[in-house]
């Protein structure tokens, strides 16, 4: 195995003092998926732009497919596909025209470009919409067209910048299926996302970035173990009932339950069956909870545990 993407100490400063990248290093093995996770403005897109040659770094080095992104940009460009948040399709062109244009710019003949366009439209379920201007497409269709445009020459390395941001759940699943299919066929993928769930589902390795720096990396499981497990919140009618429940779990549960007023928190480290065990214990004691919430660790939990502060995306929502 060798690295399809490698970056060492990338620095990019915008203006006089905005450090978009402050020494980012990462490495993606061939045929694997790297999830670049972080809030808005963390440096995810800037990293992708440097790696796809659309932005020259101030410091550091990066190689894609063994080509230097600064010294051999055209070699890099010929072997990558880019789709997502900021690389768009032309709204005025139809789906077919968009894909044909990209094919021709990859130096395919008009005929070959047309054929590849038709094949991709078919593959992504866009044949019926092929002759409509892409501005009439739904969000999910546009994203599929966008990804199709990145696959015109079947590049060995694919960059997806927030591929599912703003998509409804079924379109998101469709995009995930596309990515999984590509990886199964040997494509190396670097994707950026704000969703831990997405990184968890698709990525072999996750790199967490914040303020232009890598603040954590590892597999999804490794990151989650740093966060602690899923938490089961059980609410009871009063403190008395909660205290009784606490005493039941105090002896029998793997970890120590936490009680706050009429609320009891249990760590869940063995999946849903453990929730059933907890409920069975309560049932045997004749206590029924009035509320029950199972919390997965979120990106915000990652940030809270690593940086001690909330993500800016969350703060914006809170405003």
């Amino acid at each position: 195995m060798s690295a399809a993407i490698e970056a060492h100490g990338l620095v990019k400063v915008f203006g006089s003092d905005v450090k978009a990248l402050d020494g980012v290093s990462l490495s993606v093995e061939e045929g694997t998926v790297l999830g670049l996770l972080g809030p808005n403005g963390a440096g995810k897109t800037t990293t992708v732009r440097v790696l796809t040659t659309t932005l020259v770094p101030d410091e550091g080095q990066a190689f894609v497919n063994g080509f230097d992104v600064v010294r051999q940009p055209n070699k890099v460009r010929a072997s990558i596909g880019l789709a997502g948040q900021y690389a768009a399709v032309d709204e005025n062109l139809t789906g077919r025209e968009n894909l044909r244009m990209v094919g021709q710019l990859f130096q395919l003949s008009r005929k070959d470009a047309s054929r590849v366009a038709d094949e991709l439209l078919e593959h992504f379920g866009l044949t019926e919409a092929a002759n409509r201007p892409s501005k009439t497409y739904s969000g999910g269709m546009r994203r599929r067209l966008d990804i199709a445009a990145a696959l015109v020459v079947r590049p060995p390395v694919l960059f997806l910048d927030e591929p599912t941001t703003g998509l409804d759940p079924s379109s998101r699943n469709a995009v995930w299926a596309i990515v999984e299919d590509l990886v199964a066929n040997g494509t190396t993928v670097l994707l950026t996302t704000q969703y831990l769930e997405e990184a968890d589902r698709l990525a072999d390795q996750i790199v967490v970035v914040d303020r232009g720096q890598v603040i954590a990396e590892g597999t999804a499981a490794e990151l989650k173990s740093r966060l602690g497990e899923t938490v089961l919140d059980l609410g009871f009618v009063d403190e008395h009932a909660a205290a009784r429940a606490e005493s039941i779990f105090a002896g029998s549960w793997g970890s120590v339950p936490v009680r706050e007023g009429s609320l009891v928190e249990l760590n869940i480290d063995a999946g849903p069956s453990q929730v059933m065990i907890a409920l069975r214990h309560l049932d045997e004691a004749g206590i029924a909870p009035v509320t029950m919430v199972l919390r997965e660790p979120s990106l915000d939990d990652v940030f809270l545990s690593i940086t001690g502060r909330r993500t800016e995306a969350d703060l914006e929502v809170g405003k």
Binding site: F14, R49, T52, T53, T54, L55, N74, R77, A78, I80, L82, Q85, Y86, A87, A88, V89, D90, E91, N92, L93, E97, M101, V102, Q104, L105, F106, Q107, L108, D112, V116, E119, L120, E122, H123, F124, G125, P133, A149, L151, V152, V153, R154, A174, A177, I178, D181, L182, A184, N185
Partner: protein
């Protein structure tokens, strides 16, 4: 979605640099022309504007202004032609700013294509559009009394000069489009440049009645010179005196702004 094995093919870049850059420019030109045709409203209103100018100036000012040696409509049409191609080049900057804003330029930058093709494709598409606009203005002019006073060669030379001047100017507007924060601003940024150059010239009125400093400016600045050259080619008069500086101005604009635009394009984040 159907089969799980993707179509597509690996690519070998084999064309020479020059052929690649011409080929890429043609692809981008075609893309921009399709864009114009897909927005019929834009096409309609950008045609209405020059027609409106011809009719308004012909009938509103026509009676009040009598230029020496020719009818006002013959005097006016060369001015309107220059004004129309000049105002049309605003769309070069608006189009580029829009491509930047919407992320199309980033798509292009990530492709193994000639760096100059995005700009060359934009300016070429605008030149092709200018061919239609020039024919439209001359056609409407004919309906309201305009006649070419020289000959077919003069007409062709005027046509070529207008296209070349507009092409050079559109590289200047490319620089504006690449510097503007968004397409609305790109449009606004154009007018403080266009209005003084167009109105402080012989486009609509003879410069004789202007204050001497303004007259000097009007007779030497590029728009004034190109208007006079176009008028000389279409209606007669001292041709070389105006055509030579008009060509020099156009070449100068092209040699300054084309490299500047390409440099900005490479640099723009």
């Amino acid at each position: 979605m159907t089969a799980s094995v993707l179509p597509g093919r690996a690519v070998a870049l084999k064309r020479s640099r020059l052929r690649a850059s011409i080929g890429d420019s043609i692809v981008v030109t075609e893309r921009n022309l399709i864009g114009y045709l897909r927005i019929p409203e834009q096409l309609f209103f950008s045609s209405v504007q020059p027609i409106m100018f011809v009719l308004l100036f012909r009938y509103v000012f026509g009676g009040a202004i009598s230029p020496p040696g020719m009818s006002y409509v013959d005097y006016l049409i060369p001015g309107i032609l220059v004004q129309t191609v000049l105002f049309g080049s605003v769309s070069t900057s608006v189009g580029l700013a829009e491509d930047l804003q919407k992320g199309l330029v980033d798509r292009f930058r990530s492709l193994p294509m000639a760096r100059s093709a995005v700009l060359a494709g934009r300016t070429s598409a605008d030149s092709i559009r200018n061919v239609f606009v020039i024919l439209l203005v001359i056609g409407v002019g004919y309906l309201v009394g305009f006649r070419v006073g020289t000959n077919f060669a003069g007409f062709l030379a005027a046509f070529a000069l207008l296209l070349f001047f507009a092409y050079a100017v559109s590289w200047g507007f490319s620089c504006i489009g690449l510097s503007a924060p968004n397409s609305e601003t790109a449009q606004l940024m154009a007018f403080p440049i266009l209005f003084p150059l167009t109105f402080a010239s012989s486009a609509f009125v003879p410069t004789e009645t202007m204050p001497s400093w303004l007259r000097w400016f009007a007779d030497h600045q590029p728009v004034g010179v190109v208007v006079n050259a176009t008028r000389a080619l279409l209606e007669g008069g001292p041709t070389a005196r105006w055509v030579i500086p008009a060509v020099i101005w156009s070449l100068a604009l092209l040699f300054v702004f084309a490299p500047l635009a390409v440099w900005r394009y490479r640099k723009t984040a």
